[in-house]
Structures are given as C-alpha cells and as structure tokens.
Symmetry: C2
Subunit: 483 residues, 2 copies
C-alpha cells in the first residue's frame, strides 16, 4: 500500500476496539510504568493479544517480547509508546513503514512527555516529526504526554495507573491524566462510580476534545460524558459538537485555568491556552454542558448521573433524620437559584404525619421532612414510597447519620423496597447523604450497589441535584423550541 491511497483519519473506534496491542517500552521491573501497563492490560477482561516490545528482554510478565514493532506477526491495531521522545519519533517511522507494508495500526497512544507541552521549539519540532508520518496515513495519535485509554467493555487498557475498574456507561475524557485517574481512584473503594471509556488527550497533537466528545456521543456504551479541560483549540466546533451531544447525553465539565495564574499553569502543563473564562462559561451554558465549579461537585455529579434518571421538574424534597445537615442541604439547594422545594400533596403530608413519630417535622418548611432520631429502618420504606410517589416531588435528597443501632442490611432492604417499587420509567432521582463519610463505607457500598448514589456533604448533594435539574430544564427548553 502507498501513502497516497488513504489520508482520511481513522475512527477512534479502531483504537478502543483494538484486538492487538503493542507496548513499546515494556519493562520487566515491577513498579515501573512500563511494567504496570503490561500488568493492567493483562488483568483486563480482554480477548485480544498483548505484545511487549523491548529489545533487551525475551519475555515480560509471561508474554513473548519483541525487539521491534516490525517483528510483530499478524495484525496490530494499537501501539503504546512509553520511551523517550526521540525514540518515539523513530518508532513513528517504523509504524509508518509497517502501515505501508501491512496496512494495520489504527492508532498509537504516546504516554511519553518531552514534546509540545513545555512550549520549547525542540519539543514542538519532535511532536511534529512524530506526527507527520502517522497523520499522513490516517493513523490516530493519542497524546503525547497522556495516560492513554481504557475501555471496560472492550477490555483495552493502556493506563499504568488504572487496574480493571467497575463497568458502567459513563465515559471520561480529560486533559489531565492525573486528575482523571484521581477521580477513578477516589471513587473506587466506596464503589461510587463505574466506567465505560476513558481517554486522556494530553497535548492533543492529533486527537482533540471535540472529536472525543463526538465519538462518545455516538458510542452505544456511553450514556454520560465527564470532561476535564484546560483549554480548547477549535472553540466553535467544540460548542457545536457538545450542543448536539447534550440533546441526548449529559456532559459534565470541569474547566481549569480560570484565573491568569491558573492559565499559566495550564500552558506549562499541556501547552493549551486556557482562554477567557467568561467566554467558556457562556459557551458551556449554550451547549447544555453542566459546568461544575468545585471538585467534589464535579465528582459526585458524574457519579449521580451514572446511576440516576433526570428529574422531570425542579421541585426537590429533602428528607432527613438530622436537623443540622438537613438545614445545610436546603440552604445550598435554594442558593443555586435553580431548584424549588417540593410541594407535597395534602394526602402525602397526612400520610407522613400518620406514619412518623409525633415529634417528626413534615413540610416545615415546605418540601422538608425531618423524621427525627426516632425513625426506624422499617419506617423508611413507607416514607420514601410516599414521597417518591407524590405528584409534587421531582427528586429526593435523603440525609442521615446512621445510628449505631441501625442494621445496614435492614436499612438497605427497606430503602430499596421503596425505590424499586416504582417501574423504571416512573423513577425520580434520589441522592443519599451519609454524613459519616468513609466511616460507613460498607453501608454506602450496599446503597451504591442498589443504584443509589451516596454522598457525604449535604451541600454537595444540593449542588449535584441542582446540576441535574439545570440540565434537565436545558434539554426540555431545547425540545420546546424545536432547537
């Protein structure tokens, strides 16, 4: 085959669905990233082939090792580079040669740094030199200066920091590998989050944010998109793509480089230009992107959208057994300006009063129910059923400091009895707040496995619910005006 025969870009699908992966710079030494990549790739539920490449080894992690990617037999879909920048430039030539001979290699992941991110002429020149032969052949380049990709459905994983992960339908794209990996590790022990596809773009020398968002928008295993970004090159195209994707899938974003100093850090980090923050803010709103401002809010909004439906309206009920955190939650809900308190029907109010202890507070203030410390595990079932069934309620935040005398299993059972008594299409978003945080890890895991997001801060739960309401309203307004 000749270069001239194909110059259209390959699809990212070829990368995420690779059936054979070469890891150039694979290492036999435990702890080294080049070893960790091989281990993580092997540990996945992946039915393809993994080829470590290292001229000095015969096997790595029990896999036959190759001296050069040109030696790898059969079809090769994906190449991971974790060697010096100069070496990357040389190997790009090898890949091009292989492509000319065999027509394989859909894409490469360049973990290595030392390219355009520092802004040096030398680094930029290397980036260009590496890219040229590959782009001329439509071979996709992810990075350089990135963690790479993972796909919990296809089993592809090139990330040294990320062992196999809980599977779901939320995909993550990030301009910071460390930040995205932080989210995944942060969420792991409490099982707060399940992952579909993961891609860190690094310097975006070839694959850019807008292409990834577009790809996730069409991906059947992606229902929610989480995005960390520092700066965007083709702003207009990005907004167009995001606006289209947002019609059907929520995009949750965290944008850094908000301040002048922050922009400086962005430049030295990925070489991106952070740009004017107000312009981003406006563009995000217009495109239906949920812009989060705090890290905890970002994390928990992603987790919530991964498990819960969107609210159909903006009337939220706060149910608690603990006055203080309940109050904090109401304050934070109303401070968003997006949410209204639920307007419980007389029927629901009366039924709650009959069900709960005399000291309980029902609908004072409006939409607020404090069951007080006298509540039992059993009582939860009827109370939650009543609230979720009520016409005046579009969503529910439940807060508790689980008393020592509660049984985790009993509480979860009664809670899920109530929640699951509604058919899928009648479900309303429900967030739970366990104010003891990781101290009640097992209880939280039980709720998470039952599909109920668990948080620890009442004000963050309020922001998350407000984000869900805002996005739902945005989507409705687009439909109403036929946009």
């Amino acid at each position: 085959m000749r270069v001239t025969k194909q110059v259209t870009k390959g699809s990212l699908s070829g990368v995420f669905n690779a059936k054979s992966i070469a890891i150039v710079g694979a290492s036999p030494r435990p702890g080294k990233p080049g070893n960790q990549i091989v281990r993580n790739a092997k540990a996945m539920d992946f039915d393809g082939l993994i080829y470590p490449v290292n001229p000095t080894q015969s096997t790595i992690e029990g896999l036959k090792c190759y001296k050069n990617i040109l030696d790898i037999p059969g079809r090769l879909d994906l190449v991971v580079l974790i060697v010096g920048a100069d070496e990357c430039v040389r190997i790009a030539q090898d890949i091009a040669r292989r492509w000319d001979e065999k027509g394989d290699v859909a894409g490469i992941v360049v973990v290595s740094a030392g390219f355009g991110e520092g802004g040096s002429a030398d680094g930029l020149a290397k980036e260009k030199a590496m890219l040229e032969p590959l782009q001329a052949r439509g071979i996709r380049v992810i990075g350089p200066n990135c963690l790479g990709i993972a796909d919990q459905h296809s089993g592809v994983n090139t990330i040294f920091d990320l062992p196999p992960y809980l599977k779901s339908e939320v995909s993550v794209v990030s301009q910071s590998g460390a930040f995205a990996a932080s989210f995944l590790m942060w969420a792991k022990d409490l099982e707060l989050f399940g992952l579909s596809k993961f891609l860190t773009v690094g310097n975006m020398a070839d694959v850019d944010m807008d292409e990834v968002v577009e790809f996730f928008g069409e991906d059947k295993n992606t229902k929610v998109i989480a995005m960390y970004l520092e700066g965007i090159r083709q702003g207009r195209r990005f907004v167009e793509v995001a606006k289209k994707v947002s019609q059907t899938k929520p995009i949750v974003a965290f944008k850094s480089g908000r301040t002048d100093f922050g922009s400086g850090a962005v430049r030295s980090h990925t070489g991106a230009v952070a740009g004017n923050d107000k312009i981003y803010d406006g563009a995000f709103r217009q495109a239906g992107i949920i812009r989060t401002v705090a890290v905890a809010e970002f994390y928990y909004t992603i987790c919530a959208l991964g498990k819960q439906p969107l609210p159909r309206g903006k009337r939220i009920c706060v149910l608690t057994a603990i006055g203080g955190p309940g109050t904090i939650c109401i304050d934070a809900l109303l401070a968003t300006g997006v949410v209204e308190m639920a307007s419980l029907s007389d029927h629901a109010k009366n039924h709650l009063k009959e069900t709960l202890a005399r000291t309980a507070v029902v609908d004072e203030p409006q939409g607020y129910v404090d069951m007080t410390a006298s509540v039992t595990e059993e009582l939860h079932e009827e109370v939650i059923k009543t609230i979720l069934a009520d016409e005046g309620v579009d969503g529910l935040i439940y807060l508790i400091t689980p008393p020592a005398f509660f049984s985790n299993e009993k509480l979860v059972e009664h809670f899920l009895n109530a929640y699951n008594s509604f058919p899928k299409e009648k479900r309303k978003p429900l967030l739970s707040v366990f104010t003891f945080g990781s101290h009640v890890a097992e209880l939280r895991r039980l709720f998470e496995r039952g599909g109920i997001p668990t948080l620890e801060f009442p004000d963050v739960a309020a922001s998350v619910m407000a984000n869900m309401v805002w996005y739902s309203e945005w989507r409705k307004s687009r439909l109403n005006y036929g946009l």
Copy 2:
C-alpha cells in the same frame, strides 16, 4: 443550704471536670442510646464515678444502678437525662432537692427532646418548668434536645454517638448534635482530627453559644474553636466575646439558615431564629471569625488549624507532581482574593532547577512548582526544605496522586525529615492533598500522625489555606491598630 444562698451561675468547668456522673434513663439494652451513653462514658480514660439510674435494674454494664438520683451517695457533679420530657421536669425537682440538701450537682445534660424546639406552648412550658428550679440554684443546663458534652482530657463523655476519640486541642461547639458528630465520625478513620472539648447546645435553654465560646477561650486545653450555629440570641454579646477570643484563638464557623427556607428548618430544629445572613457575615468578619461556606471547607479548616501554625504572610507556594490538580489549586487560591502566589528567591529557584528533573516546571507561573511524575520519594526532602526555608514563601500546598511505585514509608520519612528540620517557631503552614482520597488511607494516616493535614480536593485545600491567611491577617491588623 437554702436557695437564697447562691444564685450566680456555676462555671462550665464544673461540668467538663465532673468526677461523678449520673445517667438517668440508663438502659441495659445494647444499641439503645441510654445504654450507649453508659458504655461510652465507661470506655473513656475517666477516673471518676459513673452511676446509671433506672428504677427497674440493679446493674447496667456492670455498674450498680440507682432508683433515683437522690439515692446516689457521695458527691454528684453531673446528671445526664435521657428520659421523656415530663420525667425531666420531675427529675429537675429531685436535683433541686438534692442541691438543697447536699449542695452538689454542677450541671445537667438534657439529651431528651420534646421541649421548646418545636415552638409549641406545651413544649416551651415544660422547658421553663424544668429550668426554673435549676437556674434558681445556679445549676447549669446543657440542652435540652442535645447530644451533651465530651472532654478528651478530663475523660467526661455523655454522648451516645461518640466513643473515645483522638485527643488534641481543638474544641467544638454545635447547635446540631448530628452535624458535630458527623464531623467527628467523618474524620475518624483517616485520623484527620483530634478533639479536646465537645459541647452541643441543643435548644440553648440555659447555656448559650457565647458562654461556651468564652469558656473555650479561657480553657488551657483549647487552642482552636470550631462552631456550628443556626441562630444566636444575644448577638452583640456573642460578637464581643468572639472578638476577644479571636485575638488569641481561631474560631472557625459554619452558619446555616442562610436562606428563608433554611431559616424555616432552623426554627423547627432547635427553635432558633436564623436571622439575616448578611448581618451575620459582617459580624463574623468584624469578630475575626473564619466563616466557611462549604461543609468540606469547614471540616478541613478545623483539621488544618488543629495541626498547623498560622502563616505569617499571604504568599503561598503550590508544589505538585500532577499538572491538573495543581492548576485547580492555583485557580481556587487566587479566586479567594486573599492569597498571593509565593515569590521564590532566585537562590531557591536555581536550587530547585538543579535538584529536579529537566522536565520539571519551576516558578511558571510564579510560586508554582511541578516536579512532574519523574519525582522520587528522596527528592521530596530537598525540594520541601528549599521551599519552606525561602523568605518568599509563607505557606505551602503540596499535591500528589501517589504513584503505585512509591513506598508510603519512604515518602513520609523524607517529607517529615524536611518538615521537622525547622524549629517549631520557624514552621510554616503546610497542607497536603492526596487526590486518591480514602484509597490511600494508610499513607494519609502516616502524614496525619506526623502533623501534616491531608486533604483530597485541591480546591478545598486552597480555601483552607486562604482561611488561615485571612485570619492571620485579621489578627495582625488588630495588633497593628492596637485594637
């Protein structure tokens, strides 16, 4: 003795330093609050006497049980009530009688609810009836509708939710028992926080916030005060007290009931009046109270002040090995308007450049150092020493996603070598951010035990540091103007 002999209020010291505690409503049934109180009181390092009171039992948790508080021999300092409201009113009479006969009982803790908090005439009447005979004798009443008190130094503990806790010099006063207990349980597993005194005021029928703050201000085991409040009765006096205490001890506050709806919840919760939020905001600033707006910010500001000195200036250095979170931290620092980025000396900059890898980013933007992923445990020592020693640095935030190949012990060793190489009076505040959260629990515990606060969100670390800077500047301005 006769009532007329003493009508001055007793000091809270008599309560916190009680040597004998009666628990009225003690229960033999595990899991019941009345049982849990006895267990927790016993589990403390307390060299006094504990008397369960319950007319139907002969012993509870191995302790001799009394039918009535009048039967308890010897001196009785503190009485805890966890019985119905009517019963509390009756027992208050017994306590008054006992006081008239023996002159003991410094104070009581009323855990029971059903008093003024609901705003009902009946409840208010009961509160008044319970209070009258006690206040006439100077016997102090904590609550009703509260969790009570704990003191890690004297070993007094009346809180059913709080087993013995790590000891330190931070005292907590709260209008919500659940919220305060949540903080303690949230912080427990990672050892983020140590406690000195703890008091939940409940309905504040007798002991009010301002008295507690004043008492903590004079307490030798209290160096930092944390406060959750919903509403204050004697605003002017509160501000005066706080302003005085703030000269020497930081007060960190979270005030809820910010919105109209939130105020409604406050009313039904403790019967307090939340008041105009802007007025509180101004009063807090004037009084040098650190007002936090997010729960995570509140929690971590308390933790940080408990372990770290105040900054002497406002120039903060951000040191990271991870570009994304570093950028988020800078953004959040500068958004506070309180902090400036550090201005590293040429000497420090040159030395950092020599010490770190060529790809490292030193002072771009100003005050920001990205060691990049190539950093080792050993390198931390020289880098942290250099930064902390520099004249242009008043405080340091360190952020990392700990690589799998790092040794926890080695990292802590080198980190603490650097930190401890400065004499106490030369130390500067240092916050660490481990973006993996509770996934690196053991590493965080090692740092915490070494005196370094560990956080998980880069933006929260920025707010915490800004709070420390704001308070330090407030204190300096008071000194400068001789206020």
